[in-house]
Every structure is written in structure tokens, then in C-alpha cells.
Symmetry: C2
């Protein structure tokens, strides 16, 4: 919290604008900025920080409010603080004998790297430079510092283009025949200083300010001004940082690591930021400045070597590092300088770290009693968890491959992990090869739903086209398979079964390795490292803490038993979405599915012409009336008999129809296949809920592609040499045309199919119930949940609920066994959310289909948007993020809230989850937590991610500070 | 309001279940039903109504609550009432000397025609029939009444299948050699009675009940029971009538019109229901019963002839008719019987009437001081207004055509009115022929957007496929052109340029007449009657009253000046939607538009590669900063100069690019064309607001069709004889493929096009502003409103607003003239409604695009839904109505409400309208009124409809009773 105070200066009482380091503390970031608060904290802790002070962010804001004038009293307080620093250092500002030099740096509350300005060596002029030379006994050092100062000050404070100094410097180097900066001797540097001063005179019309106080005043103003500079404003707009935070200004005594072999400079981490091991880790350079470490002119030594070179400073540094870690209760990234044997701390901040290190450090620190379990959970990014679980290439392997020129291309890292296999170019071939035990990588220009059997058997997928949410990307992520998509330089020749990149060609059967974590594609078989949750002890422990904290359940989307098993091993508590259509796409079923689809429209037409549904529903109504009404039983009986006869007659006619027979035969063959599918899935998830979605996609997706048929038909027609095949193709084409839609996403699919062709849903429900019955007899507990997709008005659900409920009860009655099943719906059409109160009267659970909700709420067809304009929208920040990856709270989120409120109003115990792509996205998981959903469902590999993200969301909710572990 | 009372019967005080006719009144419909309240009102007014009484609807409900038992006291009250009726008639129930016969009829609050049961002649048995014979001196009459009674009672009360009586009756007719019922003499009828009684004995196991009180008791119970009969329950479910209203039972003295030449029966209207003329209009039959009029055995005489036959009764009837009209203040539909010279009124109810009559009667009654203007407005159905305005075929013409066998086919009446013209089968040919002055009717299997030029020149359109909201139907309604769509028996042969129906063939150039009001298609030129609003004085007067009452503005959707003029003549107060893309489809523009589209992607790519937009927006931002910030002007100037140079360089490179040149050349040629378009439209609507929507549809709609190109390319490839054309077609195909989308409705269109290709929108805005400038110079006042389609997030609007605002200001600056223009948006994406508060910060008006909102809220692609499943949904009542015709209040409506509330919160004066198809639908207009919109916009021909509907919506709002006219 910003602390403000007043101070008495001269005669007037004014606000306190300036804090000496020892007056501040770590919790004053708002007022002192990150850097200022860090130095204050270190100073307060008695660490050797070069003395200095901080001008507050409030002063910056006051500066702007006053029309770019220092607020009253600020300058006076600055001078007072400078006096104290002089006393602390024994040096004096502007004193030619023993000059105090300072750095002037910006430091906002939030880090804005490189966005604002810094001036070093301030206080130098023609006199003090001589003093510095004398004191250091190093004229070259002093003049180098001086020319650097003029250059920096000129560019930053006086806003003279930097090139002018650079050009002049290069000129002098040419004049004296110097190759590198370090080749310049003191005399040459004096010439540089003179030339730089002339540049300043010329550019500003005034001489370079030699008065150190004038230098300081201008430098402070320049830092304030940099807060509203174009770069900084753009940066804050981009990151949505408020413009009124202001920046603090830090004025600090300069220390020099380049004053001889008893000096040096270094950077270090308090623990290994790659492995997380508890050891000092960093680099050190003797007789050098920070810049030299960065420039890479000299190779630094490992920090441990410092123990030999500067043993005393090293020991002190070790102790300080330990203390800072304890103070900040996190791994620190430290900067320090040793000036003539004396250690100075310049910066401390939380260290960036690898995924593995983040997990290990968090868990270790809990065991060390340094942080609580809850804090540990907040120290790891959910995305880091994912990185730990996918197959990986060790860095050494990648580097070797690069050296050997094995890198073929780079695409989008659509689904993490590494896949190694033989390149294949069509899904059928992939299946054939895979069945012989060969690992394959499917390579396609892009994938479509009926490539699914190829994706299923492949180790991974590489496409030349498509974005992060293209079919290949989504399906691969769903399956936890590595994918590199949109590798645009890959040219695929499907006829030749090969692809080439820049003249290099990969043929079918050649080995390739794709890294979905980085997007790289390699030639050949690279060795892969595959982690495993149980072997990752630290992660396992962390996630077990997460499970104790989170309120959201974490379920997985899985269509096959093997995916369900994997999800379970990752901690999934249920299956939130089993897409039955994926099962239909498999090779052995597709012909049956196609037979069913081709016969369905005519079969349905015949059935409707017979009025069978009307007769049946009349019969159902009459039976219900018969139950409800005691009176006139004989009359009702007459009516019932009549209706029963009508139904029987219509059924007999229907069963004699050839289209119906074909349709029914296909369904009858699909029933045992689906029963086996569900048996496997329910068994793998024994004891857990399993949501099975009834058939959803438009039927044409199961048929051959329209354009291919049209081309073949046209070719056959022109050639005229195969009338038989032509007739066949034309028949297929007519069927595909009849199913074709202008906007299939908004067309005949989901429950609309169920209403037109109820027999398909009936078969699926029967298969589910029969599988559950079988398992119950085997002593396996199951909780199947039957989900209707695309419901948008209550009558759709009411009718399906009646028809399918009858099937379920019939199976139970036949078997004499009851099954613990539920009926529920997707909420994926905006209208469904509006009428959620009505839907909840029948539905026992809701599952938000946020992919479709995003499509309809935004009016974005996912495939089209990605290909045509979403790239532009994201690039130009028309949209702040891809709404197909992260839930849009303003539109989709508000509608979800409406759905949750209304659904729970009708049925307070309603089970509500989400099964879209968003279920694995941490920001979206946090949103779902706040909405009060029961669970999120995501792809198996994202389950650990979701467990952590759900825990973090729960922690973000808590108001009270959490207790320490132990 | 239901009035309830109690009455004292014997010892206990019970509820009043029975009302004598003189105890009730017209406002007791809830309690007495429609028929009971009507008889009560007539009785109370002293009219000659056969005495009787009504058992209340509450008694019916109590009957069910008591487990199908009469409630306590009801039967006693019935007997008491019967005593009073005996006194009134001088007859006695069951008295063989002077028997009272009654009818027992159901009568619910709401009319449920034919759904419930009636028993006539109740009270007859073997003794009373003899009395009736003696009294009427007509044995045949008496026994005919008796056998009818047993038959009716048997079927309705005893539930014996009616066929058994019918068969027995036919048997006796055969036995006695009678051809018709009337051939049966009294003796034969006695045999019928005996046979009928045997049937009853056989079917029920008991003899026919001879006790009149038992008959009455059973009949009342049967009427109560019929309320819950299958037919009635189904009917109420269908019409959503509550099941707990109950039915009343009316018991009324029988009167007979068949007692000789001083008797008769008739029906009449108090005014002519076809023309509205103030004259008695109806039919009368001497010596006949109501059944005879219905059966059509004898030809009835016009009611006026009754003056000659039964002058006294006629005079009395005239007076009564006048009194009833005055009492009910509406035209009445009357039933009456004259028994031996005495007039009895049996029924009075509001008369059904033609559209013309409805308007004339309403206006006349205001002038007569009978009703107020407000009441008059509520007496006309909005749909009737539409019927009056479209070109029409006089009934005589249609009948003649039918006689001559000119009726070819029948389709859906998609857009009302009659079109006469020569059949043409493609839009180009339509244009050619029309340009020679020939009227044409476009005949197509179905239409697509680029048939538009054919639709524009055609008198009307006939399609073989498509539903009420197919492209042809929507466009034709929009243009006010007659359309018959989905005429499935019409087989079109496009190659032969002909269509045939059942063997008859119509070739190109043959005359046909289509009636979009009825859906009929005729061969040849039928004479047409075209009404005109100014000549329809009554309608004009009525609509002027509507204008004084309504709060909603009524605007029109019009793309061309001639449509705008027509809309204005119908009373439109503005243009709510001008679809600029329709202009692009016209023959002279299409090549330019195609050139623009083909070059646009590459031109945009080049522009993006040059970073021109980024440079320009940086420059814009810098200019803004320069304006806002006084400080450091020299520094800003430097930055400005640098940015200006960058922009200039990028522009120079862009202008040298060939794709850009092609793109720009097309735009430059389109500019003056669009300017002329807008000039005409703004001039036609001088002084009124005109909303012009910037280009909206996906670009591929302007290009040749994909499948046709694919077929041609394949053919050319196989034949290999025209490589030049092949290359051309393949180039086009590639371009079309690049623009092709999986779901174009959710793809690259609307403002997304504007962001990708801003130059198109810029051209359009320039054309609008330049047209307005030109008109201002000519002294014409204009109010153009520029509308951005498909906005879904605020950045889209912010950017377009900036770019296009700049263009508008530039035109104003160039001309030195200001234009009163507005910028606004469609709200047609659900997300737009959610963020309406943000949108309203920039948008000065909203226009709800309810077609697209319906598509996205329901997840229905309109074309696909109509073709694939919406028919089933409506037929099976899965949806209660077609949401593309009538606004869905639950989903779309709630979202609109959100949009209105949030939009007005930000900008209270926000102008909000609706421009979807719904703008012309009365139910939707009422909804828009309640939402508080400013206006509805509809097709020109629906403007008068909307004026009336808006007035009715406003009246429905008023709570206070309205004052009478004069």
C-alpha cells in the first residue's frame, strides 16, 4: 500500500517526496517502485547496498499535474538526501578531490523492461573526472566513464539521436586505428569527450551542463518524462497497465567492479534455475563492469570459482544470498559488484526458472518450512506442468541435430510433445503401416474429420496449413499427441508421397521427428525422453496438495479406453465428453455408418408417411391418461386397443420397406460395436461418471467428399468409358448433395439428427445401457451420463427425453437390473442458456460446449475465422486473445452465468461442467471456478495442468492469509 | 370477470351453479361461456330468446374435482331453473300433453368449434313424442325428431359408435325403398325408433332411458365429460388453452323452424361481410331447420326476400339486428328461427369479415359514433391491410380461369400480389427481355444472390424449390414483388428453357400469371386489379388515426430510389436499411466488383507487408499527442516528420504494385456509380433519415459459383483442347477456393471485410458523403446514417469509426460543406448485445439485425434449417412458430432487451430500430414496441401493415378505457 508522509523543509510543511533507502521497505512498491523497494529492503536488512535514495511515484504524478514541474519541496528533499549519501560515502557531489558519482534510474511498480531510461556516472565533469582518475589511479578508466556519461546523458536527457555519438566515436577509432573500444587509450578518450561535448553544443545550442546539480535535475526530469514517452505509453496500452502509476527515480552511489583484480561483478541465482537444486548458481568476472558480462567479450567464471579469487567477498555473498531467499521466501536473481574487495548488492528480484525447477523449488521450500503448501501452489505456472509431462528432446540432442543440419522446418507448436516415426501421407496408409507395428507421423496439407483413423494410429501429426485451432491441432491436443501445424515451407506432394523443404525431400517411410513443444521438425530419429507422473515425485506431491485445495472437479475428454486410462493416471475424476462420432469414423464401422446415412432419409420419409410417430405418441398419451384417470376404464381400453392396432399396422408396413430394412440392418450391426466401445470406456472409468454425447456432427462428414465426387463424375461423364461407375458416383453425389449445407455448423446436427432419425440415438442409448448392465453383472460400478447435443428449445429435449428414457427403461426391464444413469444436455447454443430454467426441469446435468458458444456468440466459424481474419485480429489486437483458446468473459462468460443461474434456480443440485477446448486453459479454469461450475473437462494431458489451475483459482478466492506449512 | 354467488336450496347454503338467461350478462363469459353469455345478454335486452339457463364452468371444474360427480346443489338448482323455464314457456318437461323439449349444448369461454358435444330434442320418449305429434299435428315431424334424439343421445351420451345407428337407418331405408331420409314416412320412422332403441339395449345392456330427467342428467354429465375428451384435450394443447377453464352447459327450450310455411330459419350478418356495406346480409329458408340450410338440399333465399314471406318477423329481426350491433358495437353474425310466425334469436357473435369490409366497417362505425378511433384500430388485422394493397385478381377472374383450366400449379404464397409476364428462365435473359419493355416472370428452380438483376427487372418470381424464407421469398417480399415458391410439381428444364406441370409445358416467352397471395400459378395473362393507398380512402383514414396513436416509427428497407418512393407513398418515415451489395450485383457493376475482389487479397497482403496501416496509425496517434500536449513541440515535430516520411514511402511502394493498381482502379470506377446510387436514394427520402449499410456479404457471393467452375475445369482438363480457357478457369477457381468458407454465414463478411479491405468501406463512405454534399448544394436536406454490419467487439468499431470518420471529415473539408450524418452499427451478433454499453460510446444508432440474431441464437442456418428440419419442427410443434418470421421473445428478445438497456445506459438518446424480416410482422412489432425501440423497418409494402400494428401495440399498452369518438 502506498504510504505517504510529510516532512518539514525550510519554512513550509510539504509532502515527503524522497525516501532514503533505509527509510523504505519491501512493501512500498507502489510508492518506491520495484527497484527502490528492493534496495530499501536490502539496506534495511543491513546488506551492503551502495547508498542512495528514491524519489517517489507520487512525485512523478505531481510533476505531470504541475505541467511538468517538480512539485514544491521535491528538489530540496533531493538535496537533503544527497547530503546524507555524501555522509554515508564520505564523498562529495561535484567535489574534484573525492567526487560522488551516482546512477539515476527509473523504477515503476511493475517491471517494464527497457521501456524507461537510466543514466550512469552522473556527477562527472572536466574537474571531477580528474579527481576520479587520481583516486582510481586510472586515467583511461575515468575518461571512459566520462565519455560514456556524456553519451548516455546526451541521448537520454537531451534527446540527441544516439547515432551522432556512435558515428563520432567510430570516426575517432578510425583516426587512431583502433579496432575495439578497449584499444582506445586515455588520450584518445579525451578527444572523444571533446567531440561529444561539441555534438551537444551543436544539437542543443548550449554547452554540456558541467554543474552536477544541473545534471541531476535534468536527469530526474528525463526519467519522469520517459514515463509518458511513446515506447512506455504503447507498452502500457498493450499490457493494460494504468498510466497513472507513475515511475519512481532511484539515485544511487556508483560502484565500480573494474578497479583492478580485487574488483569484479557478477550475477547469481540462489538456487539452480534449471534443475531447482539448492546451490548458488551464476557467473562472475574479475575487474569488469556489468556491461562486460553482457557483451561477452570475456568468458565469465562460474560463481563457485569466486571462492578462490575473492574468498571473503564470496563468503559474504553466500550469506547474503541465503538471507535474501529467506526474506523474500523465493529464489532470488541477484546482481552484485565488488569494488576493491568490498561487496555491494545492486539488485535482488524473484528469479525466472524452468518448469522442473519451479516445481522442485516450490516443493523443497515447503519441506524447508519456508513457504506454505498454498504458496507453493501459486509458485508454479500451470503451463509449466504441461511441459513436464510430454515426451521431450533433451537440449543436447537438439543442439546436436542443429549442428548436423537435421532441422527441416518450423511450424506452430500446436500440441506439445515429441513424436518420432516414419512419414506417411494418407490416413489409410498410416493405419496399414501402424498395424505392422511401425511408428508413423501423419503428414498432411491439413486434416479433416475422416482422417481420424490416421490420427489415431499416428505418433503425431505435421500439417502445412492451419492454425492453433485447426482440426489437426484440436484433435491432436485432445488426444495428447504432438502436432506441428501450419509449417508453411513444407511442400507436400500427395501423389508422389513425399514432402520437400528448401530442396530436401522426405519420402514415405523416411524417419522424421517433430517437436510439438517448439514447433521444430527434424530429419531422422531423435532420442526422446518421456516423463511419467508417478516418477515426477515433486510434481505428484504438488498436485496432491492442489487436490486438497481446489473446489472444481477435473474430468477429461476421452473417446477410447486407452485415453480414459491415461486421463485417470493423470488424476481425472470422470469423463466429461466422449464423442461417439469418433468411434463411427473408424475403418470397420465407416461402411456401416455410410449405409445407415444413405438409407436414413428415405426410411424416415416412409416412416413419416405412415404417421408412425404420431400414432405412437397418441398411444403413449392414451396410456398415460389410462394410468392417471381411474374413470371409464372400458372406454380407455377401447381407445388403447385401437391405437395399438394402428401402431402395429404402420410398423408392419415400415418393416417391409427396403430403405428401412437397409437402415435398420446397419443400426443392428452397429449396436454390438458401440456396446463394446462403451463397455471398455465405462470399465476404464469404473466408479466415475462418464458423459457420453450422442451423435453430433452433420452426417455428410461421414461420406466421401463432395468435390472429389464431382470431379470423378465429371471425368467419367466426359470420358464416357465406365457408365457403371458413373452411375454409382452420381448416386453417391446425389446423396451427398442432399445432405450438403450452406453452413453445416448451424445445420442438421446434434439433437436435430436425433429428432429426424431417432433410431440412431436409440441404438446408442441401448448400447450404453447394455454395457452398463453387463458391467454391473461383473461387479463393476458405472455412472453413465447420456448427453444430448445442440439443444436450443425445450421441446427438442422433451421429446428426446421421452423416447430415450423409454429405451433405457426397456433395457433395464429386459435385464432386470437398474443402472445409475443420468440424462443431460450440452449448453452450446445461446438460446439454451436463456431457457436453462426450462431445460433443467428435464436435464440432470449441463455441459457447456464453449467452442460452439464462442462460434455463435462471436459469429465466428472457427475454421473460417482462423484461416481468414482471426490472425489479423490477434496481430492487430482487435481481439486481446484468441477466444477459442481462452474463454471470452464478456460474451460467452456472461451467457454461461445466465445458464448457471437459471439452471440452478430450477434444480439446485444440477451438475454443471465445461467440455470445450477451454477446459484445459488456466485463465478459463479460473473463470469456471468463479462461475461455480462443478468441474472442467479437458484433454487427458491437460488434467494435471487443470488440477493446478483449479487450485490456484480456489486460492485466489481466499481472503485470509494462509498458514505456513509445519 | 367470473362472478360467483351462493343460493339457498332446501336446507343447505351452496354455491350458485346455475344461471337463468336473464340472470347473466355479456361480461360473464368466464363463468357462462361464450354462448351462455350471448343468450343472457340477448335475454336481458328483451330479445326473443328461447328460455333456458346455463350451468357454470365452475360446476364443470367442481365435477372433475369431485371425481366426476355433480357438485352438491347443482342438480337441485338445475331442476329449479327448469321449473322457471316451464313457467316461461307454458310447457312441462316430460308432460305427454304439452312437452317441453330442450337442447343441451356445451359452451366454453373460448370457441372450440366442433370439439365438444350437443344434444337436441331432449325430453322425448314414447309418450311425449305422441304429444309433440298431436301439438304439431305432424306425426312424421315428431318421430323424425325422436329418432334423431335417440341417435344423438346414443352416440354422444352413451358413447355407442355412430355407425351402428347409420347402418340401421340405411337398412330400413332399403327395406322401405326410400332413397332419401325425407322419403321415410312416419311409420317407417317408428320402425327406426324401435331399431335404435334395440341398439341401445344391446350396446349398453340397459334400455334407452325414457325418463326425461335421467336423460337430462346424463346429457349434462356427457357435456362435462366432453371437456376432457381426447379431441378437446388435443385441441387445447395445440392452441395452448388452459385445461382448467371448464365448459358451461346450456339448457334451452327447443324451437322448430320446420313447422310449416309460417316457420323458417336463417343466418344473417348485420353488415355485408365482404364489402362492409351497411345492409342486412344473409340467407333464409322457409319451413326448415338449421341443418337443412347447412345440408344444401334446398336453395335458401336472400334475407331480403324474408320481408315478402314473413314481413312481421323480418321487421322484428331488422330491429333486433340493429339493437345487437349497437349493444355489441360490432357487426354481428346472427342465427334465428321463426316458429309459427314467432321470431327466436339463437345466437349472436362477432362476424368474420373480409379485409375490405373490416376497414370500411371500422371507419364507418367511427363516423356513426358507435366506436372510438382507437377501437376502430383494433378491429382490423394488420395482415388484412396488406391484402388490400397488393395487385389482385378479382374472384370472378379466378373462377373463369379455373373453369377454363388455366390453373397450372400451386406453391407457397411467399410474397403477396399478382404478377403477369412472360416466363423467362435465367436472370440475364430476364434483363434483356425486360429492357425491351416486356414484362417478365422469372422462373427458377431456386434463386441465389447473383440472380438479383433478374429479380429486379421481373414482375415476380416462381420457384420450384425453397420455403417461406428462401432467398427468392425474402428478396421478393423485400422488393414487394409477388412470389410463389416451392411449387414442387413444376419441373423446370433450364436447357430447354421451359417448365412443365402434369404434361403441360410453358416455354420461354409464354405468358403466365402468378398470385403470390394464394400461391396459384395460371397460364396466360389474367387481368389484374391494382389498388393504391390514396384511392383507398377508408384505409388511408384509418392509418392516419394509427399514426396519431403509435409510438414506434415505421421505416422501410429499400435499396433503390423507386423502392424508397413507394415506401414513402405508403407512409415510411425513413429508410432503415439500404443493402449496398444489391447495387454491386447489377450487371454494369459486377465486372468491376469482381475485379476488385480478385485483386483485394494480394493488394492487402502487399499493404500489410509494407506496414502501411501501422505507420498510419502511429502517425495518427502522434498527431493526436501533438494536439493534446503543449510541451516539447519540437520533439513531436521531429517524430511527426519521421512518421510522415515513412507513410509516404510505403504509399509510393504500394501505388507501384500491380495488384493494388487493379484493386484501386476498380474502386475508383465504383465510386461515381455508388455516389449516383446514394444521390438517388437520399433525394427520394429528402428530409428523412436513410441508413446505408456498408458492404456485408461474403465476397465469394459476387464470383462465379465454385461447383460450376470445378466442373468446367475438369471437363477442360480431360478434353485437353483449350489450355487457354483452362488456365483462366483454374485461376478463377483458385480465387474462389481461397474465398470459400465452411460456414460463410459466420465467416469473412460485414465489418471483418471492412477491417481487411478498408478501401471498400472508404469508397462507400466517400460516395455517401459526396452525394449528400451535392444534394445540400441543390437545397435538398439529407440525413444519411452509415451503418457497420456484424460488429461483435469494440475494437472493430473503434478502428472503422476512426478510418471512416476521417474520410467523412475529409469530404466535408474538401467541399466546405457539413453533412448531418451519423455512424452506427447493426446489432446482429449476440456478443454485440452484451457489450452494447461499449458500442454505444461510439455508435449513434443501433439497428437490430434479427435475422442473423435468430440464426446465431438458435444455431440455425436459415437456408439449411428450412431445407432440412425446420419444416418438421413446425409441423410437429417442436417450435411453436417460425422464428425467422416472428421474433422469438425467449432468446432473441431477451438479448435485444439486454442490448437496449445497455445501449441506452451509455447513450440515453440512442436511436434504436430493427431492420430484419421481423420488422413487418405484427407480433414482432408489438414486441419491439414493448422493448421501447424507436422504429421498425420493413419492406415497402408492409409499411401500412406496420403502421397499424404499431398503433395496436401502443393501444395494448394503455390502461384507461378510451373515450368515444364525437
Amino acid at each position: 500500500m502506498a504510504q505517504t508522509a510529510t516532512t518539514t523543509t525550510g519554512t513550509a510543511t510539504t509532502k515527503k517526496w524522497v525516501y532514503l533507502f533505509h527509510e523504505g521497505s519491501a512493501d512500498m512498491r507502489d510508492l518506491l517502485g520495484g527497484k527502490g523497494a528492493g534496495c530499501a529492503q536490502m539496506t534495511r536488512a543491513g546488506l551492503p547496498v551502495p547508498p542512495g535514495f528514491t524519489i517517489t511515484t507520487e512525485a512523478c504524478n505531481a510533476y505531470y499535474q504541475a505541467g511538468r514541474q517538480f512539485p514544491p519541496g521535491m528538489w530540496e528533499q533531493t538535496l537533503e538526501a544527497l547530503r546524507v549519501v555524501e555522509q554515508q560515502t564520505g564523498k562529495r557531489f561535484g567535489d574534484p578531490q573525492n567526487p560522488l558519482l551516482v546512477s539515476v534510474r527509473s523504477g515503476a511498480k511493475l517491471s517494464m523492461p527497457g521501456m524507461m531510461d537510466t543514466v550512469l556516472n552522473l556527477g562527472l565533469n572536466d574537474e571531477t573526472v580528474e579527481g576520479l582518475a587520481r583516486l582510481t589511479n586510472n586515467e583511461r578508466f575515468a575518461y571512459d566513464a566520462y565519455r560514456r556519461f556524456i553519451q548516455m546523458f546526451g541521448r537520454i536527457v537531451l534527446e540527441i539521436p544516439g547515432e551522432r555519438f556512435d558515428e563520432a566515436f567510430e570516426e575517432i577509432k578510425r583516426e587512431v586505428g583502433a579496432r575495439q573500444d578497449t584499444d582506445l587509450a586515455a588520450a584518445a578518450l579525451r578527444r572523444v569527450v571533446a567531440r561529444f561535448k561539441a555534438i551537444v553544443q551543436e544539437a542543443t545550442g548550449s554547452p554540456f551542463p558541467t554543474d552536477p546539480y544541473e545534471q541531476l535535475r535534468l536527469a530526474i526530469a528525463a526519467v519522469f518524462r520517459s514515463w509518458m514517452g511513446k515506447r512506455a505509453v504503447d507498452y502500457r496500452n498493450f499490457y493494460k497497465i494504468p498510466h497513472d502509476l507513475g515511475t519512481a527515480v532511484n539515485v544511487q552511489t556508483m560502484v565500480f567492479g573494474n578497479m583492478g583484480d580485487d574488483s569484479g561483478t557478477g550475477v547469481a541465482f540462489t538456487r539452480n534455475p534449471t534443475t531447482g537444486a539448492k546451490e548458488l548458481f551464476g557467473e562472475f568476472l574479475v575487474n569488469a563492469q556489468g556491461e562486460d558480462v553482457v557483451a561477452g567479450i570475456r568468458t565469465p567464471m562460474p560463481i563457485s570459482k569466486m571462492a578462490e579469487v575473492l574468498p571473503q567477498a564470496y563468503q559474504e555473498f553466500q550469506q547474503i544470498a541465503r538471507r535474501l531467499e529467506e526474506t523474500y521466501r523465493d529464489v532470488q536473481d541477484l546482481e552484485f559488484t565488488v569494488e576493491r574487495g568490498k561487496l555491494y548488492m545492486l539488485q535482488t528480484r524473484a528469479a525466472k526458472r524452468s518448469a522442473a525447477a519451479a516445481v522442485k523449488i516450490a516443493v523443497d521450500m515447503v519441506h524447508e518450512g519456508l513457504i506454505s503448501r498454498e504458496e507453493a501452489l501459486q509458485r508454479v505456472e500451470p503451463a509449466q506442468v504441461e511441459q513436464l509431462l510430454v515426451p521431450q528432446l533433451d537440449e543436447a540432442v537438439v543442439e546436436a541435430a542443429r549442428r548436423e543440419g537435421r532441422v527441416l522446418a518450423r511450424g506452430l507448436n500446436a500440441s506439445p510433445g515429441v513424436a518420432v516415426g516414419k512419414a506417411v501421407f494418407d490416413p489409410d496408409r498410416a493405419e496399414t503401416l501402424a498395424h505392422t507395428g511401425e511408428p508413423v507421423v501423419l503428414v498432411r496439407p491439413e486434416t479433416v474429420p475422416d482422417d481420424i483413423h490416421g490420427l489415431i494410429v499416428a505418433q503425431g501429426v505435421l500439417t502445412a496449413r492451419g492454425g492453433m485451432t485447426s482440426h489437426a491441432a484440436v484433435v491432436a491436443r485432445g488426444m495428447g499427441k504432438p502436432a506441428v501445424v501450419g509449417a508453411e515451407r513444407v511442400r507436400i506432394d500427395l501423389r508422389d508421397r513425399s514432402f520437400s523443404v528448401d530442396g530436401r525431400t522426405v519420402h514415405e517411410g523416411d524417419w522424421i521427428t517433430i517437436d510439438g513443444t517448439t514447433g521444430e521438425v527434424f530429419l531422422g530419429q531423435l532420442p526422446v525422453h518421456v516423463p511419467n507422473l508417478t516418477e515426477l515425485h515433486d510434481l505428484n506431491e504438488l498436485l496432491s496438495w492442489a487436490d486438497n485445495v481446489r473446489r472444481l472437479g477435473v474430468w477429461a475428454n476421452a473417446d477410447y479406453p486407452r485415453d480414459a486410462e491415461r486421463a485417470r493416471s493423470f488424476g481425472a475424476q470422470g469423463i466429461g465428453l466422449c464423442r461417439t462420432e469418433h468411434m463411427f469414423m473408424e475403418e470397420d464401422r465407416l461402411p456401416l455408418v455410410q449405409q445407415m446415412i444413405l438409407a436414413a432419409p428415405e426410411a424416415a420419409r416412409v416412416k413419416r408417411a405412415l404417421g408412425l410417430d404420431a400414432h405412437r405418441s397418441a398411444l403413449r398419451a392414451a396410456r398415460q391418461r389410462a394410468e392417471e384417470q381411474a374413470g371409464e376404464p372400458s372406454l380407455v381400453a377401447t381407445e388403447l386397443a385401437e391405437l395399438e392396432q394402428r401402431v402395429a399396422e404402420a410398423e408392419a408396413k415400415l418393416h417391409a420397406d427396403p430403405a428401412w430394412q437397409q437402415y435398420k440392418a446397419a443400426l443392428d450391426q452397429l449396436l454390438p460395436i458401440q456396446r463394446t466401445d462403451f463397455y471398455g470406456l465405462l470399465k476404464a472409468m469404473a466408479g466415475c461418471p462418464v458423459i457420453i454425447r450422442l451423435i453430433d456432427p452433420p452426417l455428410h462428414e461421414f461420406l466421401p467428399k463432395h468435390d472429389e465426387l464431382l470431379v470423378e463424375a465429371t471425368e467419367l461423364r466426359v470420358r464416357g468409358n465406365n457408365p457403371q461407375r458413373l452411375a454409382e458416383v452420381e448416386r453417391l453425389l446425389a446423396a451427398v448433395n442432399a445432405l450438403r449445407e450452406a453452413n453445416p455448423m448451424l445445420g442438421l446436427r446434434g439433437c436435430r439428427l436425433g429428432l429426424l432419425y431417432p433410431e440412431i440415438n436409440e441404438m446408442q442409448v441401448r448400447a450404453i445401457l447394455e454395457a452398463a448392465v453387463q458391467l454391473k453383472r461383473e461387479g463393476v460400478e458405472t455412472h453413465p451420463e447420456i448427453m444430448m447435443p445442440l439443444v436450443g428449445n425445450i421441446e427438442e429435449l422433451r421429446r428426446l427425453h421421452a423416447i430415450l428414457g423409454e429405451v433405457a427403461r426397456a433395457v433395464e426391464a429386459e435385464a432386470g437390473v437398474t443402472v445409475d444413469y443420468k440424462f443431460g444436455t450440452m449448453i452450446e447454443i445461446p438460446r439454451a442458456a436463456f431457457i436453462a430454467d426450462q431445460i433443467a426441469e428435464l436435464a440432470e446435468f449441463f455441459s457447456f460446449g464453449t467452442n460452439d458458444l464462442t462460434q455463435t456468440i462471436f459469429g465466428f466459424s472457427r475454421d473460417d475465422a482462423e484461416a481468414k481474419f482471426l490472425g489479423l485480429y490477434l496481430e492487430e489486437k482487435i481481439l486481446p486473445f484468441n477466444p477459442f483458446q481462452t474463454l471470452d468473459p464478456e460474451g460467452v462468460g456472461e451467457l454461461m452465468q445466465i445458464g448457471v443461474e437459471r439452471g440452478r434456480k430450477t434444480r439446485p443440485e444440477l451438475e454443471i461442467g465445461i467440455c470445450g477446448e477451454h477446459g484445459g486453459d488456466p485463465a478459463s479454469i479460473a473463470f469456471c471456478h468463479r462461475l461455480g461450475l462443478n468441474y472442467v473437462s479437458c484433454s487427458p494431458f491437460r488434467v494435471p495442468v487443470a488440477r493446478l489451475a483449479a487450485a490456484q483459482a480456489a486460492l485466489a478466492d481466499r481472503q485470509e492469509p494462509v498458514a505456513r506449512d509445519r
